[in-house]
Each structure stands twice: as structure tokens, then as C-alpha cells.
Symmetry: C2
Subunit: 168 residues, 2 copies
């Protein structure tokens, strides 16, 4: 199989995975293409390989930069900008998790915190149940944050890696 064809399959698959995780298909495809490219690509390169419009590529590349998954790269003697993915999968994952935590978890956490300190009027058992739910969710989120911290440190620590395997 030609390399290009294999990359194409990967790009498509990554794109559809992206959409089911709430990331736009284009953004995921561009990310996949850059992951698969060792050397940084220009906007036109990306347009050529993904068949997306200039505007779309521009917007999504900048979004990838916001997420810290991609970096601008200047090439000596070239006027164009080139873009290169962060190729280390663990730091990639860490950036994704941090960004989602910031964008999505924090609003929910702050609601939970507010609800927890509010006095509620209603049937006693229903109020109790609701308060228990809030408390359980907060605790769960805290626990998951510990786990994510752990996850982000796995790569640089092969002892951790082994330990997790052992207790899993």
C-alpha cells in the first residue's frame, strides 16, 4: 500500500473519531495529517491533502494552536508559515485533557459548588437525595482529576507504567 493511502485512511478515521468526541471533523483531520507528517506543512499543503477550504484550514489550524496540539514553524527563506503537530502522544493527551477540563468541567464544577451551599426547600427525602448526588459527583470529579494527573505523568515514568499495569 502507498504511504499516502494509509495516511488517508488514518486521517478519515481520526476525523470521524473526532466528531463523536465533539471536535469538528476538519480539525481532527488536520490534526491527523500533521501527526502523520514529520516536517510541518503549509496551509496550501493541508488544503491539498484534506480537500478543505482555505478558511476552514486557517480557522482549525489556529484552534489546534489554541489547544497547544500544533505549533507554528518558520522555514528559512520561506514566506509562508508551516505547522507542525506535537508528536509526543502523552503530552498531546495532556493538552487535550486540560483544555476540556477548562472548557467543560469547570462550569459544571462551579455549579455543583454553588448548589452544595444552597439551602433547598422541598420534601425531605428528595432534598437529601439531591444533595447526596451533588456530593457524589463532586467527589467523583476530584477522583478523576487525580487519575488524570497520574495519566499525564505515566510517560516520563516507566515505574508508574509498570505499577499501573500490575494493579489493573
Amino acid at each position: 500500500m502507498k504511504l499516502q493511502e494509509a495516511q488517508g485512511q488514518f486521517i478519515q478515521a481520526w476525523g470521524s473519531l473526532g466528531s463523536s468526541w465533539g471536535i469538528s471533523k476538519s480539525m481532527a483531520q488536520i490534526h491527523a495529517l500533521l501527526l502523520a507528517s514529520p516536517n510541518g506543512l503549509s496551509t496550501d499543503d493541508i488544503m491539498g491533502r484534506t480537500q478543505l477550504s482555505r478558511g476552514n484550514v486557517n480557522t482549525n489550524v489556529r484552534e489546534l494552536i489554541n489547544w497547544r496540539l500544533v505549533r507554528k514553524k518558520t522555514v528559512l527563506g520561506e514566506r509562508k508559515e508551516f505547522f507542525e503537530a506535537i508528536h509526543d502522544i502523552y503530552s498531546m493527551a495532556q493538552h487535550i485533557m486540560e483544555e476540556r477540563k477548562r472548557r467543560e468541567m469547570e462550569p459544571v464544577l462551579s455549579l455543583l459548588k454553588d448548589l452544595k451551599k444552597t439551602e433547598l426547600e422541598g420534601k425531605d427525602d428528595e432534598v437529601k437525595h439531591f444533595q447526596a448526588l451533588i456530593k457524589d459527583l463532586e467527589e467523583f470529579v476530584a477522583q478523576m482529576e487525580n487519575l488524570l494527573n497520574l495519566a499525564s505523568r505515566i510517560n516520563s515514568n516507566s515505574y508508574l507504567k509498570k505499577m499501573i499495569k500490575a494493579i489493573s
Copy 2:
């Protein structure tokens, strides 16, 4: 604050969290309502509290049942069906992770496996780079699966809970 109002806020917030995680807003809202309700609700109860149509409620409740987040419940002397959420947050999370793994990760994993065993034609360094990417991703996914196994066993094991906190 009235209990109903607090529940309403929770339902809305959960709904919007849901949509950014690739779950339909209605499904997430219904789930939130059932989590907040100690006693199981009928289709009409859910319609009343969420202002969603009968068809929408029916479809999404059945989807929640597929995900094993909700159970049917019959009440003595009542013809209607009632629906009750699984209230244990850790088993809830486990079901969500399993379902997503099955639906989304598996197709990608099987592509990665295929690509790994394919002979690729192309520039040597580009082929090498792509193969390294595939390998890294596979290894990463395996590592995350270990971590998820760990996560799903945290609740019933407070020793694990403490250990993770300690090493995080």
C-alpha cells in the same frame, strides 16, 4: 431555593455538558433528571419536567437503557413503565466508558492494527515516522485501558483511592 429550581439548573448544565461530549442534549437532560429523582419517573413525568416530546423521551430513554445507565421499573398496580437511573456514580462512569470504548475506540484500534501489519511504499523517513505514530497510538490506548480498569475499581477499594491520591 426550591428543590425543583436547583434540579432544573442541574438538568440544564448536564445537558450542555452532554452536548460537548458528543451525547445528545435531550439524553443528557433526561439522565440528569433521573439521577436527581430517587423514585423512577414515567414517560409523562419526564415529558413534563423536561418539556421534550414523547418521541424524543421514548427514544432517549431507550438509548439510556442501552448504555445501562437507566433501568425499567414496574410499579405494582400501575400500567405505565417507570424509569430509574443507576445512582452509583462509579458504575455509571464505568458503563459510559465501556460503551464509548466499544463504539468509538474499537474501530480506530482495528484500523491501527491493520495499518501496522501493512507493508508501506514511500520515502523511508516518512514511512518510519508514520509507523512510529501508529505504534505510539496503540501503546497509548493500551495504557489508557489499564488506567480505566483501575478507575472502575476505585470505588470499591478505598486503599486504591488513597494510593492514587498519594502518587498523583
